[in-house]
């Protein structure tokens, strides 16, 4: 992909100087009735870094994501998202890419991708003009005016990712972004996302149950336990991904070693 840049404005990715905290959880707990979803979760990542949360199903991973986004209120502890600690504040910093693509079936691919711009009060015409150029870069050229049901699963996820990106938020929350795809398409999409994220420096929180995906796409991987969700291990990935294909990275001895460590922590 070379020096071609995705070029979505950072929307203040480097603004609000001061602390360099991207996302910080300090002793965060959350229960739904008697069910404890998260218990004493603590981790911290810098701005423009990427963190992957892995763990078994039902381990409160999605809860963690919703807490970060400010869609839920936590019971104890503090959550700091670029200095914002209130739910409204966090909501204003985060854009979420949901597990299912959640494209609106009555809108074309282009109109789905531009919805965040439209929500800010920009007219449909201007929002379309602003969003259209990205379709080619996302491998979606000529599919601008097609409704989601006529797109393949991989294409729908790319529209969904573009929609998240167009929100121009500093923080991207990816909730099992490729969970619904077959393994071959998932691999292709991971590689594509790795390049796309390399072009747009953002703080990324990725929730997945796929250890490979977490290690490939993140700088830090947090392994969580089953309910109640606790941080079991924090793995500093530090793999060299620049200039290597997904296959090369995933089969390298360093990667295998990290994977072993993560899998061991999950058990």
């Amino acid at each position: 992909m070379g020096e071609q840049s995705v070029g979505v404005n950072g929307g203040g990715a480097v603004a609000s100087a001061g602390s360099n905290v991207g996302i910080a959880f300090q002793g965060v707990g959350k229960a739904f009735g008697d069910v404890v979803a998260l218990d004493g979760v603590t981790f911290e990542i810098d701005r423009n870094s990427r963190i992957g949360i892995v763990g078994p199903s039902g381990g409160g991973k999605s809860t963690l994501l919703q807490l970060t986004a400010g869609l839920l209120e936590h019971d104890v502890g503090t959550i700091n998202v670029e200095g914002e600690t209130t739910t409204e504040g966090r909501l204003s910093r985060c854009a979420m890419m949901p597990q299912r693509d959640l494209l609106l079936p009555w809108r074309t691919a282009l109109d789905n991708a531009m919805i965040a711009i439209e929500n800010r009060g920009v007219t449909k015409k201007d929002a379309r003009a602003k969003t259209r150029p990205y379709f080619e870069h996302f491998g979606l050229a000529k599919f601008e005016d097609v409704r989601p049901d006529a797109l393949s699963g991989g294409m729908r996820q790319r529209v969904s990712f573009l929609r998240t990106l167009m929100a121009e938020k500093d923080i991207l929350l990816l909730d099992e972004p490729f969970g619904a795809l077959d393994s071959i398409t998932r691999g292709q999409m991971q590689e594509w996302l790795l390049r796309a994220l390399g072009d747009v420096p953002r703080t990324v929180l990725l929730v997945t149950h796929d250890v490979d995906e977490a290690l490939l796409l993140s700088r830090t991987v947090v392994v969580m336990s089953a309910r109640p969700g606790r941080v079991v291990r924090v793995i500093d990935v530090g793999l060299q991904t620049e200039g290597h294909s997904r296959r090369e990275i995933v089969t390298s001895p360093e990667f295998i070693e990290l994977k072993e460590s993560a899998l061991e922590a999950i058990e």
Binding site: A69, L71, A95, Q99, R100, W106, E118, N119, S152, W192
Partner: protein
């Protein structure tokens, strides 16, 4: 940015990925597949009906044969049938139109204001247990013999399924869509306009289709309660004279009005909800 060079190969290999192909068969084949059996069934019923009356020599004042109905349609058209179609048709259309506006409006208001929904919804359901047959004469006393009481009765009978289906449609919109929209800076109003309302449209149309079948019934009740014109009135006036064939002809026309309204609603749904595939069902 990257808008020059339109034929440039796509940025990555995945762009070659083909979207699913849709097959479209010819109009006639689809018509036959959807309605062929229903058509055959209706024809068979008419044939059996005609034979039955012929074989058992049923007196024509007791039960009209299909051919007698056709004869009545020709003979009575100008004098009895045609002049009575228009009053009934206008009652149905105006009443239905009002019920759509009021029903959808009320569904939206009740959805957006939860306390109001809690207050009004049980009352709304309770009101439906009052039979429209007993309500009709009261409305005639209140509103006179003109068009108004019939329109009100049609609207009353039609608006309930629209409100209930509309409310359900609005309420059952996936929470994940709403959470997604909230992280994309959507206001309450934009969530309603861009997600909830379009998401509820198919349900609203379902309610309208049910209502369309009720509309003609409402008009007949209204006319029976007090009227000097309309197909319901014609049925009522023809009964003491044992004009059985004419009664059947009027019933047939009422059915056609209801079916036409149903068809109109289905057509509107196709226009306004092109993303919904209904597998050929009307």
């Amino acid at each position: 940015m990257s808008t020059q060079a339109p034929e440039q190969p796509a940025a990555d290999a995945m762009a070659a990925e083909a979207p699913p192909i849709r097959k479209r068969s010819s109009v006639w084949v689809r018509f036959w597949r959807n309605y062929g059996l229903a058509l055959l069934f209706v024809i068979a019923m008419i044939v059996i009906w005609q034979l039955w009356i012929k074989i058992f020599d049923v007196p024509k004042y007791l039960f009209a044969s299909p051919t007698a109905i056709v004869t009545s349609l020709q003979k009575d058209w100008a004098r009895y049938l045609e002049p009575n179609i228009w009053p009934t048709l206008s009652e149905v259309l105006i009443g239905f139109g009002i019920s759509v506006v009021v029903g959808v409006g009320l569904a939206i208001i009740l959805h957006l204001f939860t306390p109001l929904r809690r207050a009004v919804y049980p009352l709304l359901i309770g009101s439906q247990t009052i039979p429209i047959v007993v309500l009709a004469p009261i409305l005639v006393i209140l509103l006179g013999y003109g068009l108004l009481p019939k329109v009100v009765i049609v609207a009353l009978i039609c608006f309930f399924p629209i409100v209930v289906n509309g409310l359900d449609g609005l309420r059952l919109v996936d929470d994940d869509f709403i959470a997604m929209m909230r992280t994309l800076d959507a206001t309450r109003w934009s969530i309603f306009r861009k997600v909830e309302f379009p998401g509820a449209l198919p349900s609203i149309f379902s309610g309208m289709r049910v209502a369309a079948t009720f509309a003609a019934i409402g008009a007949v009740f209204g006319e029976w309660a007090g009227s000097s014109q309309g197909l319901g009135y014609l049925i009522q006036a023809s009964t003491p004279n044992l004009q059985t064939a004419r009664i059947f002809a009027a019933i047939l026309l009422l059915t056609l009005i209801a079916m036409a309204l149903f068809g109109l609603v289905s057509l509107l749904e196709r226009i306004f909800c092109p993303w919904v595939s209904r597998g050929g069902a009307l």
